[in-house]
């Protein structure tokens, strides 16, 4: 009996001991996961959270949304392939887009801004930051806070540009009720928030801030840009009652698809803000400046020098912001810029001389032939008529629709041949930075603003600074312009200066001339094609001629990479082409074919009669008659499709928006819809 009792007691005691587990046993954590306080303990730790934001912007935001279609959807730039769905937004055919066409870009912009907002909140709660703000001291903390806020504003700015009115302010929390916010309200809010942080940020060069991070200089420019976009023409919705509150509009053209082309009636208030802050960006330029001289002994093109910094994998002193990138890597970072928008190459995806460049960005031939003055150094540095074959040889581009060396003349601002040495290991991996904003852009935006505000003298002065760099002298300055003529001159200068950089379509939109310009370029192309068809050539008002055929020949140059043009040598005119000397790269030397790596071109700007004596003489000298403009004639339907075919009359509202993706539409209980004829 006693034994049994002892056993019972023992068992019961034992059981009681098991119920007394440590109270916090179920609080499990891992040192691999750290909390908010840990990651914001010091400025350098805090920057690591922003490091992710910048990288996420590069990896997931910049492609898929504006960077793909912005630079190919204007009256100067186009996409090269026929019947592709890649350029539906660029040609303003939003009805054909699928609702989730850019869901990745849309969501990632919000992800990036949500993270930036979270980081900003964490910094705002720090005593050290509050102290610096109270005393007005610019410190690492105030810079980081400003950077986070600038990131947030930058993402929202891009959202509005590409999606129009969007939901605002729902980040980092679970929402069941949300709706569209007026873009004008969001712009006001962004401007207000940036005005607060801007004075406490570092100018470029201060606090080790380079143009690969957001600086006070960039923040100033961004305020100006946002104000300019708020005040400029844009396509607004008429299908959502009360969306814009009491903002009044001056409308243009016809109302279609529940939208209209308009600008706010009080736009001048915004142009004034833009003027103030674009000027502030120039005043606070820090180490940035417009490059006006060329330090190279073998070339003299300060305009091209800016792009050479990208090829040299350096930060250009003209950049206000360029998105940092890196070469190689186990998994490649997004190095799309030179691949998508650079000088075309037929090379293979890896180990080629050079590797493939798709070349999504083609220059409409009327711009190349008709808009540039032949003395303008920008032309050859901006547009190329040749690409690379992938085996160390230069190759004439073709106007037959396609990609790589087919598809038309292309941008020349990014060319892997100009890297030293080129990255030949893998395509899309050369690691050039993404250009975002440079001083010339800021100056010409300021010129645009001043022209609109009637400050003609200042505007002319700004434009001439840009022109003097391009021509190397003041002989091509604009003089005495004002009013609409001045505005047109600024617009034209922006077109040629910033060609292929994704600004032209926005310039046209803001200026209220988008649809007129679209119709104009369509007609100009039609005239050119008619002439090519009937006469074999077309003459532009500047005297340049495009012909149905040209004559080309492969020739030898000791240095196959060429620089400033030499009109006496058909292999050196136009300039800024040729090939890197790939036989000097051991890994690829075996792939280099032949010894004549350069293309000599005859008849590019003048008419040579195919049946005439000159043609016969060229052919006897080894030149080959080659299709040129005739390929545009033969494929004109493709060109018609790819040049803003969504605009059919000058009164059409330009419908340049992307659809808000389905996840955001479908959970909104009907409060968020896609307008402009986009799918819902």
């Amino acid at each position: 009996m006693m034994k049994r009792l002892i056993n019972y007691i023992a068992v019961i005691t034992l059981c009681i001991t098991f119920t007394q587990c440590k109270k916090n046993f179920l609080d499990a954590s891992s040192p691999s996961n750290v909390d908010d306080k840990f990651v914001t303990s010091t400025p350098s730790e805090t920057f690591k959270t922003l490091s992710w934001c910048y990288a996420n912007y590069r990896q997931n935001c910049i492609m898929g949304t504006y960077r793909w279609n912005d630079p190919i959807g204007s009256d100067a730039e186009m996409y090269p392939e026929q019947s592709s769905s890649n350029n539906l937004n660029a040609i303003l055919q939003p009805d054909l887009l699928s609702i989730d066409a850019v869901a990745g870009g849309f969501n990632s912009l919000y992800t990036t801004l949500a993270r930036a907002a979270k980081v900003a909140n964490l910094i705002a709660g720090k005593e050290a930051y509050q102290k610096d703000v109270a005393s007005g001291t610019v410190s690492d903390w105030t810079q980081l806070y400003g950077e986070a806020m600038t990131m947030k504003a930058f993402c929202y700015f891009n959202l509005i540009k590409h999606f129009g009115d969007v939901p605002y302010g729902y980040e980092n929390s679970y929402v069941e009720n949300y709706s569209l916010n007026s873009r004008f309200d969001i712009y006001d809010s962004l401007i207000a928030s940036l005005k607060v942080v801007e004075p406490l940020m570092y100018k470029l060069g201060e606090g080790n801030i380079t143009a690969e991070r957001f600086s006070r200089t960039f923040c100033d420019a961004l305020i100006g840009e946002i104000a300019l976009y708020s005040g400029g023409y844009q396509t607004i919705r008429t299908d959502v009652t009360g969306l814009y509150g009491n903002v009044n509009f001056d409308k243009k053209g016809t109302e279609q698809h529940g939208c209209v082309y308009a600008r706010r009636s009080d736009y001048k208030n915004y142009y004034k803000i833009a003027e103030q802050y674009l000027q502030a960006a120039i005043d606070n330029e820090g180490t940035a400046h417009l490059i006006t001289s060329d330090d190279r002994s073998y070339a003299n093109n300060p305009f091209q020098r800016h792009f050479q910094y990208f090829a040299d994998l350096q930060v250009s002193p003209e950049s206000i912001f360029q998105l940092g990138n890196i070469q190689g890597g186990l998994i490649a970072t997004t190095s799309e810029y030179p691949y998508a928008f650079g000088r075309p190459s037929d090379g293979g995806s890896s180990n080629a001389a050079p590797t493939k460049t798709f070349g999504a960005l083609r220059i409409i031939p009327t711009v190349y032939y008709g808009d540039y003055d032949n003395a303008d150094k920008k032309r050859d540095a901006s547009v190329t008529v040749t690409g690379s074959k992938g085996d160390g040889n230069e190759k004439m581009l073709s106007f037959v629709p396609g990609n790589k060396t087919s598809g038309g003349i292309a941008t020349n601002k990014w060319d892997e041949n100009r890297m030293n040495p080129p990255y030949i290991t893998a395509q899309r991996n050369s690691g050039m930075d993404w250009p975002v904003l440079r001083m010339a852009d800021v100056m010409l935006m300021l010129a645009e603003v001043k022209a609109e505000l009637g400050e003609s003298g200042d505007a002319v002065n700004l434009v001439n600074q840009i022109r003097e760099r391009a021509f190397g002298n003041s002989g091509h300055d604009i003089v005495g312009l004002s009013g609409d003529a001045l505005k047109a001159a600024v617009l034209e200068e922006r077109k040629l200066e910033l060609l292929g950089e994704g600004t032209r379509r926005w310039d046209l939109i803001r200026s209220g001339t988008f649809s007129e310009a679209a119709i104009a370029v369509q007609q100009e192309m039609a005239t050119m094609v008619n002439d090519l068809k009937s006469r074999g050539y077309h003459t532009f008002s500047n005297g340049n001629v495009i012909s149905a055929y040209i004559w080309i020949k492969m020739v030898h140059l000791d240095n196959p990479l060429t620089y400033d043009p030499d009109s006496t040598n058909p292999a050196l005119y136009p300039g800024w082409r040729g090939q890197y000397n790939y036989s000097t790269i051991p890994a690829i030397a075996g792939k280099v074919k032949g010894n004549n790596h350069n293309v000599a071109i005859e008849g590019l700007f003048r008419y040579i009669d195919p049946n005439g004596a000159e043609a016969a003489s060229l052919q006897s000298n080894g030149y080959v008659k080659t299709n040129w403009g005739i390929d545009i004639v033969n494929n004109f339907t493709s060109y018609q499709h790819n040049i803003l075919s969504g605009i059919t009359s000058a009164g059409d509202p330009p419908r340049y928006y992307w659809p808000i993706p389905s996840a955001t539409i479908s959970s909104s209980k009907g409060k968020v819809t896609n307008g402009y004829g986009l799918p819902n």
Binding site: K48, P167, S173, T333, D346, G348, A587, T664
Partner: protein, 1103 residues
């Protein structure tokens, strides 16, 4: 913890028991036919003395030397026999063994119960059945043998994952894999050699699984390994050799058709593709020395590279078990080694396993047991897939079917133009699939050590205290090496190796600790009221760490050994490296549970179970879950009024109801913390230097309200035995409802997140299971038995939260190339596993168009393909009017909404991947010493999404141009034809009609593939999974060699499959979440590793 242990030790020594005078009785227990019965229980009535017979049927037991001693003999499947000793010292007994399994012991949570007393739904398979025809993974042996348990292996790769689903599985985002407990400890079935299994019991309803609370929702698989036995030492050996041979290869175009197809395809992609192809083979305008042109290749036999990539292989297995001991000390030692060679180059699974078990009676009423197991696995194989393509293995057929020696044109063309640029992988021998697979070594190593120490203390009569302490530690290594060919690190001009290759080297370890304590009290209130009460507590804690290094571009003089040994020696000028380390968040569970079994009059059985689980995976407020269950069983056949039904031996009705949980989510989902960024793409670069970065630890929006997913199970069943135990069976009807689904949910991107986990929606599974087994014929020499089971399960998504679209995709073709991107859908009212796409309606013919001057303009009233189709190679701007996509030969789809355009609005559910019923049946016969068995399993009514087929039905550009196609493309629509040895573009309606009179598949020059009914096939099959023929040598011969038992056998696996499915194998589960799809991508056949047909010769020997 430590102090508790001392307390226990003190307790153990605090009492002793007195023993009286004893004598020993020995004897032998045999079956009716005189066979020795191993493991029969022998006990002394009225005492706790018990022993069991050894493999020769002998026993030895101590009994009091005085008094009326009665021995009780019992054996599984026989009635208990009581025999008074009456002074004898030797008592031999014959037990008549029936086919009935009612007395089998069934393992349930924290205890066992006789099958006849079971109230829940439990399916069992014995170790003997599993060992008859051994397989590398025990789960394979379960296939088709357990009602309500579906077992589908991933595919034919060695070490393949095997999906086990108990009654369908209710979860969508979470794992549906049942809790697998090996001797009570969570483990992996592939770690256990088949011949070490004593039994496998699968708990299916809450009545039995609720005792596992939060982990029981998907059912529980309890594996009991063989234990040590007292008696004479026995040694048993099990060995086999297995010859594997491919059951099927993909049928690709033969040389002539290949040339015809690819030549045309190259032409459609332009001169740059066409001309080098013509030069290479000597075709068309570039005949060269091949004056016969394409006709020279007629009748040439295919050089099928698939046969180099995967072909016959040999596997083998040796196992040995030694057991023996005394009444007080029992020992088992077991060792096993398997080398399972895959049919593919560089694929194998090797496992070494050692187990040691000890049971030591410390006192008369206290037993201490130790159970240890060490497993060492080596697995070489990782069949990754590439979007739009498949795996290297599954697309080996795309390599040119013409051997280099048979190429009649200019071989220099191989190294030029677009062949050089895009065609290497399908044209160059040194980049062939065989060469690339042979240069890729994805080796995973793992070691696992597990020890369980347990203590059984019979405190007083009927009250048992059991304590179980287990720990396991695992070490894993990932040593992936890819060489110069695989990575294209070859200078093609010189053949020189530029770099040796890339290495991925990871090490990880994990640990788990578990301590459970139970008190079990068995007592009778009186003869008609019997109670068994179990109360217990369990704590579980596990965690792990890992490090990983990746480096690329090792210098050419390196090989994989040197690279792993000197991983920092990669070429830093071109290469890069990443490294990372991690510590996992511990997974902790603290639980309390209890169970009451009450038996009234031995006819009415009641079970009530309750478990409370606290889990570290949830926020403090939602940590605890409570899981109750109840069951009732009625032994109807024991009622007096049933005694007159003579053909009925036993009939039991069961009903149960209960709740179980599923906590299978990551620990980090309820709070938002930060983690370091390893992926270099998310480390920003400043001045060409990577900047360290912190990202949120989870990409989902944290949801502090997360709680358990709860499954309510309802089950009604009956167990019966008929006709003097000739036939027995079980029928179960169930209805499981899973509520508060823990689902990955899409949320609007404006939050900064695109998904969160939330408890939303509900699913259910309803079904019927029937299993029957019986003796068909029995005589002195013959015994023929058969068994089978059939399962009907209907899964259903009962409801989803309003913001869940249910759309998800595999994007097997890549986001830009698969239409629609979301090719799967969850639909309320339907099961999980619906494929969404277009309805194929044939081919556009010239009759659908107005033809004018080369342009085909679609007639009014005929729907056009939407702009999603994008580029179609071979068509120029003039072939179609601007804005029209349709062209003769393209696939025609059903215009569901009649708006004249085939787009998103014409998508519908086109396939259901769920079977109507599945099952298995077997037939076993023994004639004297010969045994024979066949095992079939089937699936009926399910469809398969044959992406391998769709992948040949479209035309990727560049690298896709020179690929060979599946044989079916012989009959695809042509817009080019070969006439007089020249390739001709067919343009006029007459030309197209003439060439395509027999076309049965569309033109495949489109870069985007429309998912349509063309890719949906009936997946029903009946497979003769195993055939076994064995011969046991007569005792008269073996006993001379002191051999107790010697059986030799041969078996064939995967002998025959009857199916209408056109793919390699209708058992499809290669990639249940392809491309990390958020919900299950059931039934997708893409990039599979084919199953072998295997021939086995083996022997079982014991002495």
């Amino acid at each position: 913890m430590k102090s508790k242990f001392y307390f226990l030790v003190v307790l153990l020594f605090s009492f002793t028991t007195a023993m009286s005078q004893n004598k020993t009785i020995t004897g032998r227990v045999t079956s009716g036919s005189g066979e020795a019965l191993t493991g029969a229980t022998v006990s002394v009535r009225g005492t706790k003395t018990v022993t069991s017979t050894n493999s020769a049927g002998n026993y030895s037991i101590e009994v009091p030397s005085t008094g009326n001693v009665v021995l009780e003999f019992s054996y599984v499947g026989s009635k208990k026999v009581s025999i008074p000793v009456e002074g004898r010292s030797n008592v031999d007994v014959k037990l008549s063994v029936t086919a009935s399994t009612l007395n089998d012991v069934v393992v349930i949570g924290y205890g066992t119960v006789k099958r006849k007393d079971l109230t829940g739904a439990v399916a069992s398979v014995s170790g003997k059945e599993i060992a008859t025809a051994p397989v590398a993974n025990v789960a394979q042996a379960m296939q088709g043998k357990l009602p309500g348990v579906s077992v589908v292996s991933q595919d034919g790769r060695p070490g393949a994952d095997i999906a086990i689903r108990v009654r369908g599985g209710g979860s969508i985002s979470q794992s549906n894999q049942p809790l697998i407990l090996i001797d009570g400890v969570p483990g992996t079935l592939s770690d256990i050699p088949a011949d070490q299994v004593q039994s496998i019991d699968v708990l299916k309803d809450a009545s039995s699984t609720a005792i596992y609370g939060s982990r029981g929702a998907n059912g529980v698989v309890l594996v009991t390994t063989k234990g040590a036995k007292a008696g004479k030492t026995t040694v048993s050996l099990n060995s086999y050799v297995k010859f594997n041979t491919p059951a099927k290869y993909m049928k690709a175009l033969d040389p002539y058709d290949y040339l015809k197809y690819v030549w045309a395809n190259a032409a459609a992609n332009g001169n740059a593709f066409q001309i080098p192809f013509e030069q290479l083979y000597g075709l068309g305008a570039n005949t060269g020395n091949n004056t016969g042109g394409i006709d020279s290749y007629k009748n040439l036999t295919s050089d099928d590279i698939q046969k180099q990539v995967y072909n016959n292989s040999t596997s083998w297995n040796h196992g040995m078990t030694l057991t023996g001991g005394t009444d007080k000390t029992k020992i088992l030692f077991s060792a096993d080694y398997i080398d399972d060679e895959g049919m593919k180059i560089n694929s194998y699974f090797k496992r070494a396993n050692v187990a040691f078990k000890l049971a030591q009676k410390v006192f008369d009423n206290v037993t201490f047991s130790l159970d240890t197991r060490y497993t060492n696995n080596q697995n070489m194989d990782n069949e990754g897939t590439t979007n739009g393509y498949g795996s290297l293995l599954s697309t080996a057929y795309t390599f040119r079917p013409i051997a280099t020696s048979h190429i009649l044109g200019d071989l220099n063309a191989l190294t030029q133009g677009n062949i050089e640029q895009y065609g290497k992988n399908v044209m160059w021998d040194n980049y062939s699939p065989a060469a690339r697979i042979g240069d890729y070594f994805p080796l995973s190593l793992s070691q696992n050590f597990q020890g369980i120490a347990s203590l059984d203390w019979k405190v007083v009569k009927g009250l048992t205290y059991h304590s179980d302490f287990s720990m396991n530690t695992s070490w894993g290594q990932q040593k992936y090496w890819s060489g110069a060919i695989y990575n294209n690190y070859i200078d093609d001009a010189t053949g020189e190796q530029l770099y040796a290759g890339n290495a991925t080297y990871g090490k990880s370890d994990s640990w788990g600790l578990r301590w459970s304590n139970t008190l079990n009290y068995d007592f009778n209130i009186n003869n008609s009221n019997q109670l068994n009460i179990l109360a217990g507590q369990e704590v579980y804690n596990s965690g792990g760490t890992g490090i990983s290094i990746q480096a690329n571009h090792f210098p050419a003089n390196f090989d994989k050994q040197t690279a792993f040994a000197q991983i920092n020696q990669y070429d830093q000028t071109v290469g890069s490296s990443t490294f990372s380390s991690s510590v996992s968040t511990p997974n902790r569970i603290n639980s309390y549970f209890g169970r009451v079994n009450y038996s009234l009059l031995d006819k009415y059985l009641f079970t009530v179970t309750f478990r409370a689980d606290g889990s570290s995976k949830f926020a403090p407020t939602n940590r605890w879950g409570y899981f109750p269950a109840g069951a009732f069983a009625w032994k109807l056949s024991d009622e007096p009024f049933m005694k007159t039904v003579l053909w009925l031996d036993n009939l039991k009705l069961r009903a149960s109801y209960g709740e179980v949980g599923n906590n299978g989510i990551n620990s980090n989902l309820w709070s938002q913390s930060w983690g370091s960024v390893t992926d270099q793409r998310y480390q920003y670069a400043i001045n060409r230097e990577r900047q360290s970065a912190y990202d949120l630890a989870s990409s989902t929006l944290a949801n502090p309200n997360l709680k358990w997913e709860t499954t309510i199970t309802r089950d009604i069943g009956t167990d019966f035995t008929l006709f003097k135990s000739r036939l027995s069976g079980t029928v179960d009807v169930y209805w499981n409802t899973t509520k508060d689904l823990l689902m990955l949910t899409t949320i609007p991107g404006i939050t900064g997140f695109t998904s969160t986990y939330a408890n939303i929606g509900q699913t259910s599974n309803k079904g019927v299971e029937l299993s029957l087994s019986g003796t068909i014929y029995e005589s002195k020499d013959w015994r023929v038995t058969a068994g089978g089971n059939i399962n009907f399960n209907k899964g259903n998504v009962d409801n989803l939260a309003p913001n869940v679209t249910g759309l998800y995709g595999t994007v097997w073709g890549g986001t830009a190339a698969t239409y629609p991107v979301n090719d799967y859908i969850l639909l309320p009212g339907h099961p999980v596993g619906l494929v969404r796409g277009l309805t194929y309606e044939g081919i556009y013919t010239p009759a659908d168009f107005d033809y004018n001057n080369g342009t085909y303009t679609l007639k009014k009233g005929i729907a056009d393909i939407g702009s999603w189709i994008t580029v179609i190679h071979g068509l120029t701007a003039n072939d179609r009017p601007s804005g029209q996509n349709a062209y003769p030969g393209l696939p025609k789809y059903k215009d569901l909404n009649g708006d004249g355009i085939i787009d998103d609005k014409d998508l519908s559910v086109i396939g259901n991947m769920n079977p109507i019923h599945t099952g298995g049946f077997n037939l076993n016969a023994t004639y004297k010493s010969i045994d024979f068995g066949v095992y079939f399993n089937w699936s009926y009514g399910n469809q398969i999404y044959n992406a391998n087929k769709l992948a040949t039905l479209y035309g990727p550009k560049e690298a896709g141009v020179y690929q060979n196609k599946l044989d079916i493309m012989k009959n695809s629509y042509k817009i080019y034809d070969v006439q007089n040895g020249q390739l001709v573009r067919l343009t006029t309606p007459d030309q197209l009609n003439a060439a395509n009179a027999n076309a049965s598949l569309p033109l495949a020059y489109n870069e985007v593939i429309g998912v349509s009914t063309l890719g949906i096939e009936d997946g029903s099959y009946l497979r003769l999974n195993t055939l076994v023929l064995g011969y046991t040598l007569p005792k008269s011969i073996t006993s001379k060699a002191k051999i107790n038992n010697l059986r030799i056998y041969g078996s064939i696996y995967n002998l025959l499959t009857i199916t209408g499915y056109s793919g390699l194998d209708p058992e499809v589960n290669a990639d249940p979440s392809h491309n990390n799809a958020i919900y299950p991508t059931t039934g997708l056949d893409f990039g599979t590793y084919p199953r072998a047909r295997s021939f086995v010769v083996g022997l079982n020997l014991s002495f």
